[in-house]
Every structure is written in structure tokens, then in C-alpha cells.
């Protein structure tokens, strides 16, 4: 039997390892166990762990509700949030704004930040992970390395160029470019080579030519061409909606 929540766990794993989100204390590290061993971390436990990623859970529940899907960890919902699919089209922008104000109630965002953020929700924005990072993720310009974090936090994709003996592999991928205004960011037209890492326990087999998705510089999974195109489409859609906000000066 496969692991029921493997995909959701893969995308959540690396930011949790870095302490950015998800389970804390003794529960941190359990997702890794879930993915790599025949351990005591079963599907029910993994589900509870995934529920501790409060932001991701809010988006997943929103997508599920908008599509009449009972389980927020349904494969179609997980695919919509992390990769992007047609389920996103059924979520209304006002629901996205409500979700953002929900973060205030949870003590995860100040009211002022929520107000400013909802002012920058365009009617074409959808609850894709790229929205959470690129439209909500605050960039003040005062914090060193924040644009690097911004790039690493979005889900990247690329083609494997070469696989070394160690954990590093070279991929060809499109990076973000922005001239100090995050709402005017776009993907570079040409792919460039960059290094990402893989954990052989998580990604045991990989070869040149494979397409991969990566999060925080670590390979999450090997993806199909269709998945890569959808990830690109929904990331572009987020960026396009952000640019429209910047060009119009206010939301539509």
C-alpha cells in the first residue's frame, strides 16, 4: 500500500525541516519518517502533521470547499495547490481575501498587513502556492536575502541536466527577476543552469532529462511534462495578476 498523503508530505517537508512552518518539537522530523521508512508514522498521523501547516491547510480547505470536495487532502486538491489545476478557477477572489483575514484571527498576520495584502488581491488571483509566496509574501527591501528566500519558497521546476555522485544535481530552470518591485516580477525568458539537492531517501532514482519540482532548493518529486506546464502556467498567472495590480495601482 502506498502512502496516502505522500505528495502533500513531500511538498511540506523542506520548509518544515528549516523551521519555517508545520509541526514543532518532537513532531518535527516525523514527516521525513513518514516518507522514508516503514515507521510508526501512519497515514492518520501524517494527516495530523499536515494539519499543522496552517497556511497550506487554509488554502487546501478553501479549494476543496469551492469544488464540493469533502477531503482537503484529496489528491486533486493537493495537486491544485502545489502544481495548479482547474479546481483553482472555482475559488472566488473574495474568498481569498477572507482567507487572508483568517490569518489575522489565528495571530499569523497583523490586521494592517492583512488590509494591505487584500488590497493587492486581483480578481485573477487564485489560491495557488505561488500566490501565497509571490502575492502575499512580504518583501520590504530592508531584509538581506529576502528576494532569495522569495525565489526558494515558490515551487520551482526544471529539467535535470546532470546528476553528480553527491546530493547536488544541475537543472535547467527559469528564475524570477524583479527590479525591486515584487509586483513587477516575472520569470526570466531563458532557462539557466542551477544546482539543487536531492535526498536519495526521498528521491532514490533520477536521471538527466527528468523534469523535477523543487522547494527550498531541494527536489520534491519527478514530475511529468503536463505537471511542469501547469506549474508554469499557474505561476505565470499569479505574476500576471500581480503586474496588473502594479499597473492599475489598485485591485480590480
Amino acid at each position: 500500500m502506498g502512502k496516502k498523503y505522500e505528495r502533500a508530505a513531500r511538498y511540506a517537508l523542506y520548509p518544515n525541516e528549516l523551521g519555517l512552518c508545520g509541526p514543532r518539537g518532537s513532531e518535527k522530523g516525523k514527516l521525513y519518517q513518514y516518507l522514508t521508512t516503514k515507521s510508526k508514522v501512519d497515514d492518520n498521523h501524517a494527516r495530523r502533521l499536515l494539519g499543522q501547516f496552517t497556511a497550506a491547510t487554509a488554502y487546501l480547505k478553501l479549494i476543496a470547499a469551492a469544488n464540493g470536495i469533502e477531503d482537503w487532502l484529496d489528491d486533486r486538491v493537493v495537486d491544485a495547490y502545489w502544481i495548479g489545476n482547474e479546481l483553482l478557477g472555482r475559488v472566488r477572489p473574495e474568498d481569498l481575501r477572507e482567507l487572508i483575514f483568517g490569518f489575522v484571527g489565528e495571530g499569523r498576520m497583523t490586521e494592517a498587513a492583512a488590509k494591505e495584502t487584500t488590497d493587492h488581491v486581483h480578481y485573477q488571483h487564485r489560491p495557488h502556492h505561488s500566490f501565497h509566496v509571490l502575492a502575499i509574501g512580504g518583501i520590504s527591501g530592508q531584509v538581506d536575502r529576502e528576494s532569495v528566500g522569495w525565489e526558494l519558497c515558490r515551487i520551482g521546476w526544471g529539467k535535470v541536466v546532470s546528476v553528480g555522485k553527491g546530493p547536488e544535481l544541475t537543472v535547467s530552470a527559469r528564475s524570477l527577476k524583479h527590479e525591486g518591485n515584487r509586483f513587477l516580477a516575472e520569470l526570466e525568458e531563458k532557462e539557466k543552469k542551477r544546482l539543487v539537492r536531492r535526498d536519495p531517501q526521498i528521491i532514490p532514482r533520477i536521471r538527466a532529462g527528468d523534469l523535477v519540482a523543487f522547494h527550498w532548493g531541494r527536489v520534491v518529486e519527478v514530475i511529468t511534462l503536463n505537471e511542469a506546464r501547469r506549474l508554469e502556467h499557474w505561476t505565470e498567472a499569479t505574476l500576471t495578476a500581480c503586474r496588473k495590480i502594479a499597473e492599475n495601482g489598485k485591485r480590480n
Binding site: T110, H132, V133, Q142, R145, V148, L152, C153
Partner: protein
Amino acid sequence: MCFGIPCKIEKIKKNKAAVKNGGKVFDIDTSLLPEAAKGDWILVQGSIGMKKISEEEAKNCLAVLDEFQNQGERRKK
């Protein structure tokens, strides 16, 4: 939130803190972190402190950020 940059609190008073990041010190809002104290490592998003993290997590995260930033700088050369 899965996005934030680790910074160390240098000074804190009520809901305002001076944090250090990359050699620079700047002010942020810590109203979401009522228990934050001098010396704590926190994740900063924009100009808001989002959550406390351990020193080990902060250093691991900064190492990943540096690794990627250094790649970009090598590509420019």
C-alpha cells in the same frame, strides 16, 4: 507561512524590535510575538516578526539562502 528570513533580536521594547540580518540592523513590528526577547531568532516577513525559531533552524535556513545567493553571484561573474 513558509516564507521568512531568520533574524536575531538585538533590542526589543513593547511591539517593536531591532533585528540583525546580514550585518544590518533595522526595526520591525513584533506584535505577533508577545513573548519574543532579546537574543531570540525569529522569522521576518516584510517588516513583521512572524514566529520564533531555534538558532539551529535559523542557521540552517541562512545556509540554504547563502548557498543559493552564492550560486547567483557565481553565475554573474
